[in-house]
C-alpha cells in the first residue's frame, strides 16, 4: 500500500479523475439538453387519477405527468395526512392539468399514496389552443353552425378553420401590413418635402390622393377580413373537464386535437416530427411561452449572415497582413497584442461600445443627415439588426484572424517561392496560390465565428435584440431588407422565456427545446469547422513530403 502510494500511481489516477469529470460534464450536459428538449415534442400519455385528498374528498385529476420527486415525510407532517408514517420518503407527482380558464395554475402536485386508481382512458383528448394553453378532457359534442354533428367530422372542421386562419394571417400581415407601411412611407415623404421646403400644393395633392386610394384599399381588405373572422367563429366544441365542468371552445382557438392515449408508436413518431417542424416554422404564442421560434431562428440567421459579410474580408485581410506582410517589429507585436485582447475583452464591453458608439453616435448622426423626416422617432439611432451585426463582427474578428493565420502558416513556403520565382507579383501569388489553398482555413474561421456569434447574447441585449419583434427584418415591403429593425434571437429567447416570462414552469420545456436547437446548431458548426481543419492539416502534411 505504502509502495503503491510512493509510486505516485494514485495521483495519476486522481488526475485521470479530472478528465473523467470533464467528460461526464460535457456529455451529461449535452444529454440533459437533448433529452429534455426532445421530450417536449413527444406526445405524452394523459393520465386520469382517481384520488382522495387530505379532507377525505374524492376527486379526479387529468393531465400529463410532468415531474416526479421523493420528499422526506417529515416535511409533510403539518398537512395531517393519512399516510404511512414509517416510510422516510414519499413520492409526489407534478401534473400538468392545463385548462387555464378553470384553474389559475396549470400545474398541481399530487401525492402518490393518495391515488386510488390510475388509468389511461382512450377517449381523453388534449387540445392545443392559441390562447390559454392546453385543454385536457373528454369531448361532449361538436357544434357545427348551431347543429350538433358527428365526432368524426372533427378533423375536417379543424382543417377548415386552420385554412381560414392561414388566410386571415396572410391578409393581416402581408396585405394590410403592406398598406399601412405604404401610408406611413407616403406620410414621411410628404414630411421630408415639407422639411426641405419643396412641398408644392401639387405634390401635396398627389400625396393626399395616394393616401386616400390606399385607405380605400384598406377598407376593402378589412371587409374581407371581417367576413373570414365570422366564418371562423362559426363552430364550437363542448368539452368536459376533470371536475365535470363543461367548457365550450371555439374552433378558431384550436390548433390540434389529439387522442394521445389512442396513438400507436408510429403515429406518435409522426406527431413527434410534425411537432418539431411546427416548432421550427411557427410564430410564438402566449408571450413566447408556447408555439414556435421561427422569428428567433430567422433573426439569428440574418444577423449572423450580415456579420459574416462584414467580418470575413476584414479578418482575412488582417490575417494576411500579419502573416505575409508584417515585418518583425514593434507594430506587429502591438497588433498581435490587439488581436489577443480583442479575443479576451468581455463581450458585454462590446455591447456597451456598440450602444454608445454605433447606436447613439453613428446612428444618431445618420438620422440627422438622412432620416430627419422621422425624427424624433429614431431610425438608426436605436438598437437594430445592423448595429448588432457590426458589434458582433468586431467580437468575432479575432476568431477569423487566428484561424486564417494558422492556415496561412501551414502553407509550405516553397509554394510562395515557386510562384514568385515564376515572375508572379506578391499580390498575384496571394490571390492565385495562397488564398485558394488557405480557403478551407478561412472557412473554418468563418464557421467558428458564426458559431460564436450565434451563441452570444450579452452584447445583443444592448444593441438590438428584443423579446418580441412585430416585423421580421426581411419582408415584402420595399426596400425588403430593413437593417434598422430590431430582431429576435435564439439565445436571448432562452434568457427571456426562461427568466422573464410570467409562467416559468409552463415555459420551461420550450426553453429546453430552444436550447437544444441552439446547441445543435452550434455543435454542428463547430464539428464541421474542426473536421475541415483536420482534413486541411492532413493535406498540408502530404504537401510537405
Amino acid at each position: 500500500m505504502n509502495n503503491w502510494f510512493k509510486s505516485g500511481s494514485p495521483w495519476v489516477w486522481l488526475s485521470a479523475g479530472g478528465v473523467s469529470i470533464s467528460l461526464i460534464s460535457v456529455i451529461g450536459l449535452l444529454w440533459l439538453i437533448a433529452s429534455r428538449g426532445l421530450s417536449y415534442f413527444w406526445p405524452a400519455d394523459i393520465y386520469q387519477f382517481e384520488m382522495t385528498d387530505e379532507k377525505g374528498k374524492n376527486l379526479t385529476v387529468i393531465g400529463e405527468i410532468y415531474d416526479r420527486e421523493s420528499i422526506p415525510v417529515s416535511q409533510l407532517v403539518h398537512l395531517d395526512l393519512d399516510i404511512d408514517k414509517s416510510a422516510e420518503t414519499l413520492e409526489r407527482l407534478l401534473i400538468k392539468t392545463g385548462n387555464r380558464e378553470l384553474v389559475s395554475l396549470d400545474f398541481r402536485w399530487i401525492l402518490v399514496p393518495q391515488i386510488n386508481k390510475t388509468s389511461l382512458p382512450e377517449e381523453l383528448v388534449v387540445i392545443e389552443r392559441r390562447t390559454n394553453g392546453n385543454f385536457y378532457g373528454y369531448i361532449e359534442e361538436i357544434i357545427l353552425d348551431g347543429q350538433v354533428v358527428e365526432q368524426s367530422q372533427m378533423a375536417e372542421l379543424v382543417a377548415r378553420v386552420s385554412d381560414f386562419q392561414v388566410e386571415i394571417e396572410a391578409l393581416q400581415t402581408s396585405d394590410i401590413g403592406a398598406i399601412n407601411y405604404q401610408i406611413e412611407r407616403t406620410r414621411l415623404k410628404e414630411r421630408k418635402h415639407k422639411l426641405d421646403n419643396t412641398l408644392t400644393p401639387e405634390l401635396a395633392g398627389q400625396f393626399k390622393d395616394k393616401v386616400a386610394g390606399l385607405r380605400a384599399e384598406y377598407e376593402v381588405l378589412e371587409q374581407k377580413l371581417m367576413g373570414l373572422r365570422e366564418k371562423v367563429s362559426r363552430d364550437q366544441i363542448v368539452m368536459r373537464a376533470m371536475d365535470g365542468q363543461k367548457v365550450t371552445i371555439n374552433f378558431e382557438d384550436i390548433l390540434h386535437v389529439t387522442f394521445n392515449n389512442k396513438l400507436s408508436f408510429f403515429a406518435k413518431l409522426k406527431l413527434f416530427f410534425s411537432q418539431i417542424a411546427a416548432f421550427v416554422t411557427d410564430d410564438p404564442r402566449e408571450a413566447n411561452t408556447e408555439g414556435g421560434v421561427f422569428p428567433a431562428i430567422f433573426g439569428t440567421v440574418l444577423m449572423v449572415l450580415l456579420m459574416t459579410v462584414i467580418v470575413s474580408p476584414l479578418g482575412v485581410v488582417a490575417a494576411i497582413y500579419l502573416h505575409e506582410y508584417a515585418g518583425n517589429n514593434a507594430l506587429t507585436k502591438l497588433l498581435r497584442i490587439a488581436v489577443i485582447n480583442l479575443a479576451g475583452v468581455p463581450s458585454i464591453v462590446y455591447g456597451v461600445f456598440g450602444l454608445g458608439f454605433f447606436v447613439y453616435m453613428v446612428g444618431g448622426s445618420l438620422d440627422q443627415l438622412f432620416y430627419a423626416e422621422t425624427l424624433p422617432s429614431p431610425t438608426f439611432g436605436t438598437p437594430g439588426v445592423m448595429w448588432s451585426a457590426i458589434t458582433l463582427a468586431i467580437l468575432t474578428l479575432p476568431v477569423v484572424i487566428v484561424s486564417t493565420e494558422e492556415g496561412l502558416s501551414r502553407i509550405p513556403s516553397a509554394m510562395r517561392h515557386g510562384s514568385l520565382a515564376l515572375g508572379a507579383t506578391k499580390a498575384e501569388t496571394l490571390w492565385r496560390i495562397i488564398l485558394p489553398i488557405a480557403s478551407p482555413a478561412i472557412m473554418t474561421g468563418i464557421i467558428l465565428a458564426i458559431a460564436r456569434a450565434a451563441g452570444e447574447v450579452a452584447p445583443l441585449m444592448l444593441v438590438g435584440v428584443v423579446k418580441m419583434a412585430p416585423n421580421l427584418p426581411l419582408d415584402g415591403n420595399f426596400p425588403f431588407l430593413h437593417l434598422d429593425r430590431k430582431f429576435m434571437h435564439l439565445g436571448f429567447h432562452i434568457y427571456d422565456v426562461g427568466f422573464q416570462s410570467p409562467n416559468v414552469e409552463a415555459a420551461r420545456p420550450l426553453v429546453y427545446a430552444t436550447a437544444l436547437l441552439l446547441v445543435t446548431i452550434i455543435v454542428a458548426l463547430n464539428m464541421t469547422a474542426v473536421s475541415i481543419r483536420n482534413r486541411l492539416r492532413e493535406k498540408y502534411r502530404m504537401l510537405e513530403h
Binding site: G17, E69, P72, A338, I348, G356
Partner: protein, 745 residues
C-alpha cells in the same frame, strides 16, 4: 511589347495597391481596439471634470426699490425680479418675441395700492411667499409658458396664485410676523411663523378638494409650545413632516402632525475656546428635505440628518465643508433636485458643493458683495444675480457632481443610513432620490464570482490537462481533447439557464449530496485505483492503466448516485429534515437559491475548457528529451511530472489560469441568470452577488443617455476592459517567453 509593359505596369500598380489595402486592413484591428479604449474614455471623462461657471450676459437695470427675489425660466430666456415696492418685472434675456435682450416685457403689481412688501420668503425654487406690512401673506409662482404661434418659440411670462389672489391672514391674533416658512402638497398647506409677540404659530390650510385645481380651503390655527426671544430661521420640509426652527446656535425640530411636538434639538459643537466664540449664521434645507445645512461664522457648513442609533432616532452631524477661512457663511442656496448647494460670504465669495460625494466643485466671486437677490436656474445649469442696478446671468456646467473618486470607491454616508456604507442603488421612483453609486459592491461581486468559479475550475481543468498531455495515449487524446474543448463553444446563455433553472433547485434540495460529493468522488477514484492495482496481471493487460479516465467514469457516476441517494437520509438525521431551514435558522446564514455555489459550478464549467486547452498545450509541448532524461536517471513517471514537466510548463499553466480568470471576470449571462443579482458585500457561498458585467446588462438599457448613471456604467465597462487587458497581455507575454524558451531547448 507595348501591351506587355502596360500590363506589367498595371500589375505593379495592383501589387502595391494590394499591399496598401492589406496593410490598412491589418492596422484596422489595432485601430478598433484603440477606438474602443478611447471611446469608453471619452464617455467617462465628463464625470471627473470639475464644475465651471461662466458669465453669460449682464444688463443694466434700475429698479426703484430693493430687489427681494429673482429667478429665470428653464431655458434662461426670461428673468424676473420682485421688488420691495411689490412689483414683479419680467425681462427678456435674449433677442426674441419682439423684444430686445434686456427689455422689460411685463410688470405687474403684487400688492394692494399703498402697500409694500415687508418680507419675501423663497420656498424651493419656484414658490415665493409674500408678506406685506400688514402681516398678511400671499403665495405666488412666476410662470413661463412657451408659445409657438408665430413659428418660433416665445416665452410668455405670467404669475400664478396657487392659494388664490387674496392676501390671507396667518396669525389669528394678527400680531405681525417676523419669520415665516411654508410648504404645501395637493391637500394641505402649512405655514409656520414667529410673531412679534414671541409666539411660534402653525397655520394649516386644508383643501376642500385639491389645491391643484381648486383653491378653496379651511383654516386651522395652532400655537406651538416654544419659548424664544428671537428666531433666526424657520424651515418646513416639503413633505410637511417636520419644521426646523433656529434660535441662535441651536435648532429645534418639531414634527408637523396634529400635536406639533418637539422631536429633537440640534446643538452643533462650535469652536468655543477662541476669544470670540463662533455662531451659526445660516441654515438651509437640502433637496429632498431630510437634511439641513448649517453655516457658521468660522466659514464652515455642516450637514445634519436623522439617523437610527441605539438611543432611537437622532440628528447627527454627517460631514462638514470648509467654505472660507475667515469669513462667515451668510447664505446657503440649495438646488431643487440634486444635493448641490451654493454658499456666499459677505465679500461676495461663492462656492459650489455637493453633499453626498463631499465634492468641493467650484469657488469664485460673481459680484462685489452687493447682491440683492440670487437664484439657481430650474435645470441647475445657470445662476441669476440681481445686484444694485445690474442683472447678471451665468451658465453653470455641473452635470455630474455626484460622482467623485471617493464616492465611487469609498464608504459614503447616505441620507437615512446609520453609518457610511458601500452601496450601489442607481435608480428609484422619486425625483430627489439620492443615487448611490459605489462601485465597491459590484466589483466585489465580480471578484467573488470569479473566485468561486476558479476554485471549482482550476483543480479539474489542471488535473485533466496534466493527464491528457502527459499520460494519455495519442489515440484517446485525439478524442478527449476536442470533446472537452467543445464545451467552450457552448453558449453561456445555455449554461446560465441550466444553472438557474435546473442546477439551483437541485443544489437547494440535495445540499448534503454536494458536500458528500467532495469526499465521495476522490475516494471512489482511490478505491478504483487500488482495486486496479490489486488486479491479477492478466486482467491488467486487458484493461491497461491508460484507460483510467474511462474506467473511472462508472466509478464516479456510482459515487455521485450514492451521494444523492444518501442526501435525504443525511438531511433527516443531521439537519432535522430540512437543510435550508437548518442553515437559516440554526446557523443564522442567509440562503439564496441562486447563490455563489451555483455560479461557481456553472461558471467553472465555462472556464474549464479555456484553462484545460491552454495548460494542456503548455504541458504537451515540454520537450521530450527533458522527460526522457529524467526517466533515464531513474525517476518515476510521477516524479518526472512534478519535478520536471510541471516546473518547465509552469509559466504556461500560469498564463492558462490568467486567461481563465479573465473569462470568469467578464462573463455576463451565467451570472445574470444564476444569481439573484443583489449587490451585497458578503463572501458567503450561500448568497448571490452582482457583478460589473451583469450590472451593465441589467441597467444599461434603462439608463438615460448622458446621465451620470450612463457614464458610470461605461466606467464599469472600462474597468472590465482594463482588467481583462492586463490579464490577457500578461498571459500572452508569459506564453511568448515560454515559447522562446522551449525553442532554445
Amino acid at each position: 511589347m507595348a501591351i506587355a509593359s502596360k500590363s506589367a505596369n498595371s500589375r505593379k500598380v495592383k501589387n502595391s495597391l494590394a499591399k496598401w489595402m492589406i496593410t490598412l486592413g491589418g492596422i484596422s484591428v489595432l485601430f478598433t481596439l484603440v477606438l474602443i479604449f478611447m471611446y469608453l474614455l471619452y464617455v467617462i471623462k465628463p464625470i471627473f471634470e470639475s464644475a465651471k461657471v461662466d458669465a453669460k450676459a449682464q444688463f443694466v437695470i434700475k429698479e426703484e426699490s430693493k430687489v427681494l427675489a429673482t429667478g429665470v425660466d428653464e431655458l434662461k430666456e426670461v428673468a424676473y425680479s420682485i421688488t420691495k415696492q411689490g412689483n414683479i418685472d419680467f425681462y427678456q434675456l435674449v433677442d426674441g418675441g419682439g423684444y430686445k435682450a434686456g427689455e422689460k416685457i411685463l410688470s405687474q403689481k403684487l400688492v394692494a395700492d399703498g402697500e409694500r412688501l415687508a418680507q419675501l420668503i423663497n420656498i424651493g425654487q419656484e414658490q415665493k411667499l409674500l408678506l406685506d406690512t400688514a402681516g398678511n401673506v400671499q403665495l405666488i409662482v412666476p410662470n413661463f409658458s412657451a408659445n409657438f404661434d408665430s413659428g418660433e418659440r416665445v416665452i410668455i411670462p405670467s404669475v400664478r396664485y396657487p392659494l388664490g389672489e387674496e392676501y390671507l391672514p396667518i396669525d389669528e391674533d394678527n400680531a405681525g410676523l417676523t419669520k415665516l416658512s411654508f410648504a404645501m402638497d395637493d391637500e394641505k398647506a402649512i405655514f409656520v411663523g414667529f410673531t412679534q409677540d414671541k409666539r411660534l404659530i402653525k397655520t394649516t390650510l386644508l383643501a376642500e378638494d385639491d389645491f391643484s385645481y381648486d383653491t378653496a380651503y379651511e383654516v386651522e390655527y395652532q400655537e406651538i409650545d416654544y419659548a424664544a426671544k428671537r428666531i433666526d430661521n424657520i424651515l418646513v420640509t416639503p413633505d410637511l413632516a417636520m419644521v426646523f426652527v433656529r434660535e441662535g446656535d441651536q435648532v429645534a425640530v418639531f414634527s408637523l402632525d396634529d400635536d406639533a411636538e418637539l422631536k429633537a434639538t440640534i446643538i452643533p459643537q462650535l469652536a468655543q475656546n477662541k476669544s470670540t466664540p463662533n455662531h451659526i449664521t445660516s441654515m438651509a434645507l437640502l433637496s429632498g428635505g431630510s437634511s439641513i445645512l448649517l453655516g457658521d461664522d468660522s466659514g464652515k457648513v455642516s450637514q445634519w440628518f436623522e439617523v437610527a442609533t441605539e438611543q432611537g432616532r437622532e440628528f447627527k452631524k454627517i460631514r462638514s465643508f470648509n467654505v472660507s477661512d475667515n469669513e462667515p457663511v451668510v447664505a446657503i442656496y440649495t438646488e431643487q433636485f440634486r444635493k448641490s448647494f451654493y454658499t456666499e460670504t459677505p465679500s461676495g465669495e461663492m462656492g459650489m458643493f455637493y453633499t453626498t460625494s463631499e465634492a468641493d466643485l467650484w469657488r469664485g466671486k460673481l459680484h462685489q458683495g452687493d447682491a440683492q437677490a440670487f437664484a439657481i436656474a430650474p435645470r441647475a445649469d445657470g445662476l441669476v444675480i440681481f445686484s444694485k442696478n445690474e442683472l447678471a446671468i451665468f451658465t453653470v456646467e455641473n452635470e455630474h457632481p455626484e460622482v467623485t473618486w471617493q464616492a465611487l470607491w469609498q464608504e459614503v454616508w447616505y441620507e437615512g443610513y446609520p453609518e457610511p456604507e458601500f452601496i450601489w442603488q442607481s435608480t428609484s421612483g422619486s425625483d430627489d432620490f439620492e443615487a448611490k453609486f459605489s462601485l465597491v459592491p459590484i466589483s466585489f461581486g465580480t471578484i467573488k464570482a470569479a473566485m468561486y468559479a476558479m476554485m471549482f475550475a482550476v483543480p479539474i481543468a489542471l488535473t485533466a490537462a496534466i493527464y491528457t498531455a502527459y499520460f494519455m495515449t495519442p489515440g484517446l487524446r485525439r478524442k478527449v481533447k476536442p470533446t472537452i474543448e467543445l464545451m467552450e463553444a457552448l453558449p453561456t446563455v445555455i449554461l446560465g439557464f441550466l444553472a438557474g433553472l435546473w442546477l439551483a433547485p437541485i443544489i437547494e434540495i440535495y445540499l448534503p449530496a454536494i458536500c458528500l460529493l467532495l469526499v465521495f468522488i476522490p475516494s471512489s477514484v482511490f478505491i478504483t485505483a487500488f482495486a486496479w492495482h490489486k488486479l491479477p496481471r492478466e486482467y491488467k493487460t486487458k484493461i491497461p492503466e491508460t484507460w483510467a479516465p474511462i474506467i473511472l467514469i462508472p466509478a464516479i457516476l456510482i459515487a455521485a448516485y450514492a451521494a444523492f441517494a444518501l442526501s435525504p437520509v443525511l438531511e433527516l438525521h443531521l439537519f432535522g429534515g430540512d437543510v435550508r431551514q437548518y442553515i437559516t435558522n440554526d446557523l443564522g446564514i442567509d440562503f439564496d437559491q441562486r447563490n455563489a455555489l451555483v455560479v461557481g459550478i456553472a461558471m467553472g464549467f465555462a472556464v474549464i475548457p479555456t484553462i484545460f486547452s491552454m495548460a494542456e498545450d503548455a504541458i504537451f509541448s515540454v520537450p521530450k528529451h527533458l522527460t526522457s532524461g529524467s526517466l533515464a536517471l531513474g525517476a518515476t513517471q510521477w516524479q518526472t511530472l512534478i519535478k520536471v514537466v510541471l516546473l518547465t510548463a509552469s509559466p504556461g499553466i500560469f498564463s492558462a489560469v490568467m486567461m481563465g480568470l479573465g473569462r470568469a471576470v467578464g462573463e455576463t449571462m451565467i451570472v445574470l441568470m444564476a444569481t439573484g443579482n443583489t449587490p451585497i458585500l458578503d463572501w458567503s457561498i450561500f448568497q448571490g452577488m452582482r457583478t460589473l458585467a451583469a450590472n451593465i446588462a441589467v441597467e444599461m438599457p434603462e439608463s438615460e443617455v448622458g446621465s451620470s448613471h450612463y457614464r458610470i456604467l461605461f466606467l464599469a465597462a472600462f474597468v472590465l476592459f482594463v482588467f481583462t487587458f492586463v490579464f490577457n497581455t500578461l498571459a500572452e507575454f508569459v506564453r511568448q517567453r515560454l515559447r522562446e524558451k522551449y525553442s532554445s531547448l
